[in-house]
């Protein structure tokens, strides 16, 4: 693995699809990009069928630009909207059964550490609120209790978007959805506190209003998982379809929610804090 799988055999360059050649020549493999350079390099994620203006798609775009080592990363997703883009990226992707993502990731990460004991292999789960906190709840929790060393990112659109608008445990209390016509009866689950209690070593919550901060958070979550234990990011990624947000107001909505209940929050253990302080002292090592 490593960079081998993105090399073009000599003489075949002119027969390969342009997007592939662009990816090899102007992409992220084997070099560090800064998220501020978006629009000036070939991104890992390709055209995909997520809706116009979807901020879950936006979060995923920034996520790929932020990967510390895309050539040594495996992404795990499942049923739900996110996999529509995750499956269109030049990073290996595994489709876990709905609810199974964190069990699959646990096994995979353990297998990778046995097969490649001297290499860093990053495993990241990206799944919806339904996939992680409702139907996959048990497996999400147990991967945390068992201190599995991978990152879990919940792209929380507060609804089952892909199946047409059922309420989830993450939908806010009182909200009316197509299939919650009387309004949701219960509170939004506090996923961040659950993650801390269950043993995550790095936990963050954000609304996608600042690409630099998203990238830094993703990077920190991946590096902390590499060395210490489970990490979790709770990202607000609105569903403009099910919440009837006009597409041009999607960023305005994210900014509003950031002020209301998705203000940036970051928590980590003392050990992880010291690790990042050390990295910041030696900036060349952050890139390792």
């Amino acid at each position: 693995m490593g960079l081998e799988y993105v090399r073009i055999s000599p003489g075949f360059e002119k027969y390969m699809p342009k997007d592939y050649v662009d990816l090899v020549q102007y992409g992220q493999f084997g070099r560090e990009v800064d998220v501020q350079q978006l629009g000036q390099f070939k991104e890992l994620v390709e055209e995909h069928p997520m809706c116009a203006g979807c901020f879950m798609a936006y979060f995923i775009r920034v996520f790929y630009a932020a990967l510390p080592k895309p050539e040594d990363t495996i992404v795990i997703g499942t049923a739900g909207c996110a996999r529509l883009a995750l499956s269109q990226a030049a990073v290996p992707f595994i489709y876990g059964n709905y609810g199974d993502t964190n069990a699959v990731a646990s096994g995979l990460k353990r297998a990778l550490s046995i097969r490649f004991p001297d290499k860093d292999k990053d495993v990241v789960v990206i799944a919806g609120d339904g996939g992680l906190i409702d139907i996959g709840f048990g497996m999400t929790m147990h991967s945390w209790f068992r201190r599995e060393k991978f990152t879990t990112i919940m792209v929380d659109n507060e609804v089952y978007g892909n199946t047409g608008g059922q309420e989830s445990g993450m939908s806010p209390k009182g909200v009316q959805l197509k299939m919650a016509p009387k309004g949701k009866q219960f509170d939004k689950i506090n996923a961040v506190e659950l993650a801390k209690t269950a043993g995550c070593v790095y936990v963050a919550k954000l609304a996608p209003t600042n690409p630099k901060r998203i990238a830094k958070t993703v990077r920190r979550a991946i590096l902390a998982a590499r060395h210490f234990g489970p990490t979790f990011i709770h990202a607000y990624t609105s569903c403009n379809i099910e919440y009837s947000i006009p597409t041009e107001k999607v960023l305005e909505d994210a900014r509003k929610r950031e002020k209301q209940d998705f203000g940036f929050y970051e928590w980590m253990t003392e050990e992880v804090k010291e690790f990042f302080e050390e990295l910041e002292r030696k900036p060349e090592e952050v890139k390792a």
């Binding site: 055209e47 995909h48 997520m50 999607v250």
Partner: protein, 74 residues
């Protein structure tokens, strides 16, 4: 016929800015020209959400990007 974003190059070039590029949800779509310092749209990939217009017009008050109707093949 469908809607895509279109950058007014001469206006955009005044600002040395790339804020809209950093907020487009689509990959490899709203690009930035290194030497001309302007944003440009890969029309066939644009989904017409107008988030870039919100960034340029509503947030930055620069009005350098607008939605236009194009016909397939344009």
């Amino acid at each position: 016929m469908y809607y895509v974003a279109d950058v007014k190059e001469a206006d955009c070039a005044k600002y040395n800015c790339k804020q809209c590029v950093l907020f487009c949800p689509e990959p490899n779509t709203l690009m930035y020209h290194d030497s001309k310092h302007v944003a440009w749209v890969n029309y066939s990939r644009c989904k017409g959400c107008a988030i870039c217009v919100y960034v340029c017009s509503d947030l930055l008050k620069r009005n350098c990007i607008q939605m236009v109707m194009v016909t397939t093949g344009d």
